[in-house]
Symmetry: C3
Subunit: 117 residues, 3 copies
Amino acid sequence: MTEVKRLDVGPRMSQAAIHGNTVYTAGQVALGAPGAPVAEQTKDILDRLDALLEQAGSSKDKLLTATIWLADMSTFNEMNAVWDAWVTPGATPCRACVESKLAAPDFTVEIQVIAAL
Amino acid sequence: MTEVKRLDVGPRMSQAAIHGNTVYTAGQVALGAPGAPVAEQTKDILDRLDALLEQAGSSKDKLLTATIWLADMSTFNEMNAVWDAWVTPGATPCRACVESKLAAPDFTVEIQVIAAL
Amino acid sequence: MTEVKRLDVGPRMSQAAIHGNTVYTAGQVALGAPGAPVAEQTKDILDRLDALLEQAGSSKDKLLTATIWLADMSTFNEMNAVWDAWVTPGATPCRACVESKLAAPDFTVEIQVIAAL
């Protein structure tokens, strides 16, 4: 039996769960930039992921996979410009990016990752 | 080389796959409540997840992450009321919830999880 | 601290990431059959997954879970005919299949997997 360590534990979800040497994060939305353009929302989300990964003892260099949901696929290039500048060259994660409506109309990007410790 | 143990193995998919101390489940839909309101479908799905996790030697206390697809995001609160009552306080998983049309119109919620053993 | 081995590392994403005895792949689209019917795109994608898994030291016998996005859920049966013929009887993975618009209109199926080594 193994232990699970959780970060930022809320009544509905935790923001991260650490199991063995793998960390899972909740889907992050731009709580700091609701309603902002996709580039700004993406930046806010990636800042949140940096902080969560650091708190978990990981970092963007150790990302395994990312799922990106865009509320509107026409913002694909705008999101990617911020993403491409953020990822670590030579250590980019696996990724899937698809279009899905998100929980609230103010949020037009959501990113969830799994990383190594 | 590691072994994979599978539960409820069908010709198209298995309902769970156990690898090391991690269990993956298939996306669960409300086979016991097709066409029912989202709250009932969610309850049916969470019952299925409880049973699958128990069979795998895990439980909802050990959930790592959940992906929730809603066919219509306007049912977000209805699903959450059932979800919030189900999760274990202090041991809530990571989560992402997005809108996607599902395989059949009778199913309006689908939930897939990864848990620790 | 654990090491991550990556395959086909690009500036935006890697096509696979190996961590411990688990391999994650990027969402695969039919780069060899853009605009083709869903059956052909699915075949192209599953060929890509076979190659990626082999390169990672895994195979379709060791699949843990698959996420399948269809741009149009009316192609569910067409995709499944190819999928069902591909999976290994007795070793089928967990699976979720939902509808989402993909990054480019030429791609109408995307499949991402996690497998054991």
